[in-house]
Subunit: 397 residues, 2 copies
Amino acid sequence: MPNRLKGGITAPKGFVAAGIHAGIKQTALVVSERPGPIAGVFTKNTIPAAAVLLDRQHLKKRLGQAFIINSGNANAFTGSEGTKNTVETARLVAAALGIPKQYVFVGSTGVIGVPLPMPALRKGIPILASQLTKTGHQHAARAIITTDTRTKTIALQQRIGGKIVTIGGMAKGSGMIHPDMATMLAYLTTDAVIETKSLQTMLRKAVEQTFNCITVDGDSSTNDTVLSLANGKAGNRTIGSTGSAHVQFQNILTEACHSLAMDICRDGEGATKVVKIQVNEAQSQKAAKSIVQTLATSLLVKTAIFGADPNWGRIIAALGRSGYTLRPDRIVIAFNQSIIVKDGKGLGPRIEQQIQKIMQRPSFTISVSLGMGKGTATQWTTDLTYDYVKINASYRS
Amino acid sequence: MPNRLKGGITAPKGFVAAGIHAGIKQTALVVSERPGPIAGVFTKNTIPAAAVLLDRQHLKKRLGQAFIINSGNANAFTGSEGTKNTVETARLVAAALGIPKQYVFVGSTGVIGVPLPMPALRKGIPILASQLTKTGHQHAARAIITTDTRTKTIALQQRIGGKIVTIGGMAKGSGMIHPDMATMLAYLTTDAVIETKSLQTMLRKAVEQTFNCITVDGDSSTNDTVLSLANGKAGNRTIGSTGSAHVQFQNILTEACHSLAMDICRDGEGATKVVKIQVNEAQSQKAAKSIVQTLATSLLVKTAIFGADPNWGRIIAALGRSGYTLRPDRIVIAFNQSIIVKDGKGLGPRIEQQIQKIMQRPSFTISVSLGMGKGTATQWTTDLTYDYVKINASYRS
């Protein structure tokens, strides 16, 4: 089991960070003292933001050294001007740090369709670079949030390959949260010595099981980005594509992503609860994934969670709507350990009262077994509340 | 153009109706003085209610004479007892009216997973049968509603094939409204003389363009049913599968369905607005349908509609999320006639102010042209409001 530390993205050796107000809400800068392998996973949105396009380009070289992230402006749907501004942002950072611009990765989050205020960034980036410190992780974490009500950071430490290896991270996101990454940005740093290809494979696997399994409102964005940068300062034996060091690093990387993903869920716009939804015994993996997503995004299920109403009829209706053949007599529905549907019927008001109490908790599990095969899938969802509507009927995001 | 009459499901010659309280909320009965061709379209939910299974069975003979509909209990996920109860309901109606039980079509709407209260129905059905009148249409329309705030009826009249032909109808539905039929029941009567097969074809076509193009909350139900019964009392020349009478009848049938579908949208749980979303120039029909559905169900789009916020960035994000390749520079987004996005960018605050005014109206159109091909699709959606959450966090449906 890894150690959970205080601190965040600067917890691993050789990383510094800063965050300041720079015209548009805020801007964060995270820098490694030397370049290293970098891995990335991006939105599948077919109208990606300029920063996503640039990062994909820079990722081809598989080396990175700095993250620059602005909040308040997504620089999405901003055409060739948007592209130019992102390229200039990377160049400004490279100049301020004296590193190649291909080592700089840009992230943006905020309003779509508005040009980046370049004069503010031209002024702000040298100031940011001058403020980089080991304790800047909180400033950086605060600089990247938008409608988030709190910062999201993580730091984990474990002995791997004979040395202490540390992972640090920060994330933002509370709305437009949905598999295929949500409007979220997550940045992970590590001092591990690791093969570039392995880092990419492990990051993708971690993202699949964490950030890609959460939903707040079913909307995913133009800017979603997860990046992981390794600078090798821990001096461990190189982590490759197999072996126990590989397994250990995969575990702490996944745990770091899981922790940040749960932070995002808990901070979901208007959310008061985070619920794990588990589908078992579906006819296939594909069916399980599709069914769990139907449940996790059903407005009727999400409002029932808000109201702590053990309304399993809505789960049945959503299961049927998924389009897969089901055998009602085989369906088992449970809230935590309490079974409410079995043998084709509901088990009555006494159990519903128990479940009502479970549903008043800030987190619980709804599990659905279908008796059709071996497919399983998990997703975390939030409740749909008055406050979700309030936040989104007024905030321009 | 057809005449719009007062009245509802009993407007055509030879139909009577009644609606009373019978144990579970209410029950409605609609009867034709003679049997005739009947057509039906049902939910695609893979866990359909007992009534849907029975109606599909009875529909094989293509003859009908009576509709019996209860509200308050969906008789869904009720196993073999549920099936038995539906069969008995049809038999009770058949006995009270002295007609074959295959001519009786059962509809149910309400809570899932609770057995029908048969003692109440055994007592209520003979009373219902004794109260059938030409003016019973309002009682019937009231008996079938649940969370609806008002009844939904239609009566249209037009000269077809040398005679006056009338269509009457009633519907219920305000939540779980989504393509593939929503939790909605709709019943249409007509005195037209019409071939059975043509009635089925025309009903399906009408449903595709109306009930299957509305969304309130993305959930469709176990009980969705549209039935159309023709008793031939108008004495027109038989309407077949082609010709001008066919076209005329298709038009008024579609218009009747459209009117009821819009009534359902306007009465959508918590809805204050009905918005027509139109996607044009998609790469294919399939793409257009998928994209229009992504837009119509996006919580961020639906809350922006509630807040009258001309937040076109959310439309862009939803378009990209649909997964289809898009060319940002070709996208044109308009609210009614006012274009807000063109040539890869937003057209600025002055137009946004105009659009804000449009968005304050109870209904308007959002049209999105993609410049990728000839696919077009339309869907009607509602805004997502505090009241939607309020209704669904407490009501057991």
